[in-house]
Amino acid sequence: MKTKSSRNQQVRSDCEELLARFQQTDSVRFEVFSQIWREMKFGHIFFGTAGREKRAFGRAALDVAAVYFLPPFSFQIRAGGLYLLHGLYHCQTASPRVPIRLALKDWEDVLAFEKDAVGAQHLDAVFLLRQLLLRKAFHFAAMPALLTFKRSKEEARSRLCKRFVARARGPQELVGRDAMEELSNIHHLYGKLKSSVFSEAQRERLGVALIRHNLPAQLRGHVVSFHGWQKRKQQEESDDEDEGDGEGTSSRAESSRRAQLLSSIKSKAYGQAAETCKSRRHRQVEVNAGEESGPALSKVRSKSSKVSLKARTTENVCIIGDMSKEAATSTRIHHLTALDRGGRQAQKDESAGE
């Protein structure tokens, strides 16, 4: 059982290597892919298997590769995954060929992919997909793999290669140009309506903020800073991985690890915005939650232990501006209405973000 999972690990790392090179070219052309394939001599991956090993290995390789053809990976990686399936399917030495398993739930995704590819005129991708279907390379199955009760732990915990995953685009899509216009209109009306309740003098006296000032601009600022954070995080991650490749066992690495450990402890200490007493609320510690301590943190921990939910959340969730304060403390009913200086502070954050 152990050899099986370690073999899968190797195949996976080989596939990821190929796809990473493909990703660097910023292309979805099959020509580019096949050139990398030839450079890596990827077709030789089947060489040296004999007898029943042929089919077993073919099965394993296709199962590993099929993952990259499906979401949540970016379109480019999925195209690469398709080419990879095409290559592996046609280069395998077993006869009759081991088919690619396609689960019922994934069929919709395949159709969506095909539609996207047709729409973008990626003819090579569409052509190869249809050719695979024509040659009956697929087994249409209920589930992606055979299900039994005993499977090794390693397989269950198979992880996704983060670099390949398509970036979440929810916030950017939600806050588009049209939506912003709409929002600013509504906000304007809402502000008018609210301010009509009190007279100018009354408001002065009470010092209550009835509306959030210039909400649309704030929102836009947040989306921009989220985008920046996403980009920076990806950059950091790829930097990390590049370092990992070239890193020797010199003392420099050792010392940098120590520095990282220290910085992670520090950032952890400062990361939690301590709730200050009410009299000092106006001088709160500002936490730049956009700055991430996550990657350093996870690197320090040993690989075998699973990172806690809290750590994973801090790593993967982008918290902007004074939201971190709200997120860190539990919501209390009397905090739901904020005084005006909240708005001012947000403005300051926004200008800092930009």
């Binding site: 029943r52 069929w107 249409f140």
Partner: protein, 361 residues
């Protein structure tokens, strides 16, 4: 890992074939027709189509010069892929062991290989298009601790249109061949008492429903005891159905979930449906061969205590000739040791027919 709930096994997959057929025009068998069709649909010119074909040809994946085809049986020199590096290491280690062949490797997928791409002689035996194939694992009864850990006893492929009784008949278990009783006075009588012919009742248990085998008049509803007990102990109610009326397609099951097959009163096997998929052109397409056995576990057999050559057929207790109590013998040794030339019983002992667990090897 999580078992997948599959409501009405067939329906979802049948829709899939249909959409696959429509979406990709599977009815075009010819590659040329496919190319022409593709060019037309995408609005691609002839030249561009030619270029596309060239770019996407399989030749573009070749990793070596055309004239020197390397041997696919050996790992190429100084590989760079991690898989190959590891494989080379393993092969070098294996060759250092000086064991040339492993008979387990040789026969491992024997049964699977037999039926691949088998085509029926008569057209009416052809598996119909869009039928589903289920892969079932049947395990040994957990009567013996080691059996909890061994591989599936047998793996069967069944078609969705088949009935549960066909699955039941395909499952072979040593307890079906068991003979009950003491036969030391008349060893020739024994073969007439095979359990399979005496106790025909059996049931499958899937998702709260007991499917009883009621094909023969002597069949009894052996699930009734469990149902009554469950009712008395505030368990959710279970229902019953007939095994011979139920097609596999009509079952509501979870893929990968352990279910129960019970026969001979208390011989209980775990049954797992590991896979459901549509038929493929490389499958065995002859109806006659289903349920198709693709894997059978081979178990070590108990040999005769005298000759150590043949599989044991008799088990004796209180035997004054035997070195142990109980002791097993093959038929020949048993008769030579315990009976005189005229077939008269010698000495004092009890003899029971013994069916080895590996009887179906």
């Amino acid at each position: 890992m999580r078992p997948h709930k599959n409501r009405g096994l067939g329906s979802g997959l049948n829709e899939l074939t249909l959409s696959a057929a429509v979406g990709t025009k599977l009815h075009i068998e010819d590659e040329d027709a496919f190319h022409a069709n593709f060019a037309q649909e995408m609005g691609v010119s002839v030249d561009m189509m030619r270029e596309l074909k060239e770019v996407c040809s399989i030749a573009s994946l070749r990793c070596h010069p055309e004239d020197q085809e390397p041997d696919p049986e050996v790992v190429p020199e100084d590989p760079t892929l991690k898989t190959l590096v590891e494989r080379k290491k393993k092969q070098d280690y294996k060759s250092s062991l000086k064991i040339s062949k492993n008979r387990h490797d040789l026969y491992a997928d024997e049964q699977e290989r037999l039926a691949v791409m088998m085509k029926p002689e008569a057209v009416e035996n052809m598996v119909s298009e869009g039928d589903v194939i289920l892969t079932m694992n049947v395990y040994y009864p957990a009567t013996f601790e080691k059996f909890c850990y061994v591989r599936p006893h047998m793996t069967l492929l069944l078609m969705g249109s088949q009935r549960l009784t066909e699955l039941r008949d395909a499952i072979c278990c040593a307890s079906d061949l068991q003979m009950c009783g003491e036969f030391s006075n008349a060893p020739d009588m024994a073969p007439d008492f095979v359990s399979k012919e005496h106790y025909k009742s059996a049931f499958f248990f899937f998702e709260g429903v007991f499917y009883n085998d009621m094909r023969y008049p002597e069949c009894r509803d052996i699930s009734q005891t469990t149902i009554t007990w469950a009712k008395a102990n505030n368990f959710p109610p279970y229902s019953q159905a007939k095994m011979e009326d139920t097609k596999l397609l009509d079952l509501q099951v979870k893929v990968g979930f352990p279910y129960l097959y019970c026969h001979q009163g208390d011989c209980e096997h775990v049954v797992i449906i590991t896979d459901v998929r549509l038929t493929h052109k490389d499958d065995c397409l002859d109806r006659k061969f289903y349920p198709l056995l693709t894997h059978k576990h081979r178990i070590a057999t108990q040999k005769c205590a005298v000759c150590y050559t043949f599989i044991a057929r008799w088990c004796t207790t209180g035997d004054q000739f035997a070195p142990s109590h109980p002791c097993v013998f093959c038929d020949k040794c048993f008769r030579m040791l315990h009976y005189d030339a005229d077939g008269n019983k010698l000495g004092d002992f009890q003899a029971y027919p013994y069916i080895d667990r590996g009887a179906f090897n």
